[in-house]
């Protein structure tokens, strides 16, 4: 992380961060639901691995707990819940048709460049690796955001939201060696509640519009037609 850290540690951190970003892209272009959930689980595991590595490198004890929390929540519990929902809604084999997959992915690369540009002035905190990881985490956040805008299917949007939060966890670890424990627990609790609420919403939405395509959610608009 800082200049003192052994190069191997810095390198492996960068590698894991890069893999996280790669998985973001994979998620962005993935149209098969089951595969997307798996990729999301792997992304959570990468973030947990980064956290554990930083914990080992810096000797920060509380980060082990945070790594465990991320692993349990992001790569086991939430993917499991999503799998179960997909099975109950009978959409495991569903394939979403993307309108412009190339544009979707190219915009993703533009976002990465933008993230590096934003992170350029941040020099004082940490060294070279830290700034790189901060830029990558911002890119993961932005790609998650873009996924929520660009994809039309509710589950894909939720995966975008959750991978966006992976980016936030990565940023917290990279830039500040994790948040204080109280905050960390609070954030984890919020993520868990959000995941449960998403599950409830899948059922409500599929009941009310008989599909999980957000394009059908168009009843509310400025000019109400009656």
């Amino acid at each position: 992380m800082n200049a003192m850290a052994p190069p191997l540690l810095g390198q492996s951190l960068l590698l894991l961060a890069a893999l996280t970003l790669f998985l973001s892209f994979a998620l962005l272009g993935q149209t098969r639901l089951t595969a997307a959930i798996h990729q999301f689980a792997w992304q959570g595991a990468m973030v947990a691995a980064v956290t554990a590595l930083v914990a080992a490198g810096e000797g920060a004890r509380h980060l082990y707990l945070s790594a465990l929390l991320t692993l349990g929540l992001k790569s086991l519990l939430i993917p499991w819940m999503l799998h179960r929902l997909a099975r109950r809604l009978e959409m495991e084999r569903e394939v979403e048709r993307l309108h412009h997959p190339a544009v979707l992915l190219l915009a993703g690369t533009v976002l990465v460049v933008f993230a590096y540009w934003v992170a350029l002035p941040i020099e004082r905190i940490g060294g070279h690796a830290s700034r790189n990881i901060l830029a990558i985490s911002l890119a993961v956040v932005l790609i998650g955001l873009w996924m929520m805008v660009g994809r039309r299917q509710v589950v894909a949007q939720v995966l975008g939201f959750m991978s966006l939060e992976n980016g936030l966890f990565l940023a917290a670890v990279a830039a500040a060696r994790g948040m204080p424990l109280v905050v960390e627990l609070g954030v984890a609790f919020d993520v868990l509640v959000a995941a449960i609420l998403f599950g409830i919403f899948f059922f409500h939405i599929s009941e009310s519009i008989e599909s999980l395509d957000v394009d059908r959610l168009n009843r509310l608009s400025e000019e109400e037609t009656e």
């Binding site: 934003v118 002035p121 941040i122 020099e123 004082r124 905190i125 940490g126 911002l138 956040v141 955001l145 929520m148 509710v154 949007q157 939201f161 966006l164 939060e165 936030l168 940023a171 917290a172 830039a175 500040a176 060696r177 948040m179 204080p180 109280v182 905050v183 609070g186 954030v187 609790f189 919020d190 509640v193 959000a194 609420l197 998403f198 409830i200 919403f201 409500h204 939405i205 009310s208 519009i209 957000v214 959610l217 168009n218 009843r219 509310l220 400025e222 000019e223 109400e224 009656e226």
Partner: protein, 401 residues
């Protein structure tokens, strides 16, 4: 200190108790009672703060700024709870809601009050974030309480947009924490507003600039500032009336409160540099755009609750503008405006809910003849509508004069 704990405990316990109470009439009374207890405790906090100047512990801190918001929040919480008891009973009798959903409603109402009070009284920027996110999560299911396709769509929009916004705010919070590492030290001190404010001049201006942009966009989404306001009219118009009242009257204030606290730190960090007024200018810009867009949208609304949601955006825009200007007079005007807006807007939503309940529709042109059947209601609403600038520009609205 015990007053503060009592104030936070009242709605927290209330949420747990109400989640377990099956009887509808009892739940309505308990809801009112817990809200009244919170108000009493908040008044006690106010009295203590006025004597000692401030109340502080590791995670909580109440000073002259947030004590007034605490009292205001608990007061509107109580008045809305009083209104909600007969109103929700009526709705339930019509068969639009089941008993289970009524339990959810009461428990979430108290949970929502708890998260707002926590957000207002905490000293840690991290807990502030957790509480504001908690406020979103507790109200999402309230917006979709009726389970109509429209309300589910509104709740989904609310959830997704506010979720994204608040995620960006967390990124900003992380950046502030990172900037504070070398200044206030690690751990809870790095997120303590009080410590950050004292040491603001030593924080890295480059990081703080970027952080503030994220924080403003993030919390600004919850304030309802314009490019991020799309959730607001839907969520406020589709939810049950008491929920609209507390969302419009209280939640927006809490988000704006967060922005103001952060502006104070960022101003300290940027002072003396080339971009010393950045935070203020950004807020003024967002505020003005919100005000203008909302005024033009107001004229096109046909749904009475949507109309008043846009009026909320407009008021929040004015307050953001005034707070961005800074200075004692503008800040005082903004805070006075916040007070009047909270009281008037929650009263308006209650009144409008009553009217649309009688008329059986929310469309403005079909709600008529009320002055004959409900003269007292009309008198009350005229009083409440007075501070809306769109109806009578710049009169009696403190921030615009």
């Amino acid at each position: 200190m015990s007053a503060l704990w009592l104030m936070l405990a009242a709605p927290a316990v209330g949420a747990l108790v109400l989640a377990a109470v099956p009887s509808l009439p009892l739940a309505g009374w308990l809801n009112t009672a817990f809200s009244a207890a919170a108000l009493a405790a908040a008044l006690w906090v106010g009295e203590t703060v006025s004597r000692h100047g401030e109340l502080a512990s590791t995670y909580l801190r109440v000073d002259a700024f947030n004590v007034y918001l605490l009292v205001l929040t608990t007061f509107v919480g109580l008045t809305t709870a009083i209104f909600s008891r007969p109103y929700m009973r009526e709705v339930c009798h019509q068969g639009r809601l089941t008993r289970r959903r009524m339990r959810l409603y009461h428990a979430m109402y108290q949970a929502f009050l708890f998260t707002m009070l926590l957000a207002l009284s905490t000293d840690s920027l991290g807990i502030l974030w957790v509480a504001v996110e908690g406020a979103t999560l507790s109200t999402v299911l309230l917006v979709s309480l009726y389970r109509t396709p429209e309300s589910i769509e509104a709740a989904w929009k609310y959830f997704i947009l506010c979720g994204v916004g608040i995620a960006l705010a967390l990124f900003g919070t992380v950046l502030i924490y990172a900037a504070a590492q070398g200044v206030t030290g690690e751990g809870d001190a790095g997120l303590s507003w009080h410590r950050l404010y004292q040491n603001a001049a030593r924080l890295d201006p480059g990081v703080m600039r970027i952080a503030f942009v994220f924080l403003l966009v993030g919390y600004g989404t919850k304030v309802g500032l314009v490019p991020m306001h799309f959730w607001l009219p839907d969520a406020h118009s589709e939810g049950p009336t008491p929920v609209s009242a507390v969302l419009s009257g209280l939640l927006l204030n809490v988000a704006l409160y967060a922005v103001v606290r952060l502006k104070m730190i960022v101003d300290g960090a940027l002072a003396g540099g080339p971009t010393a007024q950045l935070a203020g200018h950004l807020m003024m810009g967002f505020g003005l755009i919100s005000f203008l867009v909302a005024v033009f949208s107001l004229r096109r609304q046909k749904d009475i609750k949507r109309l008043f949601s846009y009026s909320s955006i407009e008021h929040m825009g004015l307050m953001t503008f005034a707070l961005g200007m800074g200075g004692p007079l503008a800040t005082f005007a903004a805070l006075l405006h916040m007070l009047v807006h909270s009281l008037a807007k929650s009263a308006i939503f209650v009144g409008v809910g009553h009217a649309s309940h009688i008329a059986g529709t929310q469309r403005i042109e079909r709600i008529r003849g009320l002055i004959r059947t409900q003269p007292r209601w009309v008198g009350g609403c005229c009083w409440g509508w007075r501070p809306s600038p769109a109806f009578r520009p710049s009169a009696s609205s403190p921030a615009s004069s």
